[in-house]
Amino acid sequence: MNELTLYYLAAMSLMLVGFMGLVWKRNLIKMVLAFTLIDTGAHLFLVALGYLPGATAPIVDDAGMFAQAQSLMVRQGAVVDPVVQALVLTAIVIGVGVTALMLSYVVRIYARRGTLDIAELRRLKW
């Protein structure tokens, strides 16, 4: 088993555990927590897509590499893919905003109904 498979395994197990929680749990806060687990799993998955074994982080911090980069001669596979990292960077920040929005709805629902169990929130069904 190489390391890349291990990272995919971590991402997928997080997503699966999150899906399980989403399907089986009835407490609203646990469901939101399951959402954040799926979120983290998806982030791990995306970053693992850009990972190249043996490559360094996409930060050009020594002069030799800078000279290569100036003349557009960066060796293929020298650094990992920065695009997915930029995507995940912003996705994490959006994730906390969305989580807070969901939790504020949970607090509001609790104030109205006095319960967190979705089985008792009949009027959510249609």
Binding site: M20, V47, L89, G95, L103, L116
Partner: protein
């Protein structure tokens, strides 16, 4: 050696996630979710993404856990 550490870390993530979903106490499950997030930031670091690792540790592990804890406390409080 690094692979062994990665293996342990992935195992910790899995156990923390399962624990977060199956724990009876809401506060412990929120804290286990935070642990899974924090350990995931180590994996980001290993995958050559220090920026993402910093974001995950500062936002995913710290701020999200705090927001969850506040929401948990606010929904367990007895109304007057």
């Amino acid at each position: 050696m690094m692979l062994a550490i990665d293996f342990v870390v992935v195992a910790v993530i899995f156990v923390a996630a399962v624990g977060a979903m199956s724990c009876k106490n809401l506060v412990s499950s929120v804290l286990l979710g935070g642990l899974a997030s924090l350990v995931a930031s180590y994996l980001f670091l290993r995958m050559g993404a220090p920026d993402v690792a910093m974001t995950e540790a500062a936002i995913g592990a710290a701020l999200t856990t705090v927001i969850f804890l506040v929401a948990t406390r606010r929904t367990q409080e007895v109304e007057e």
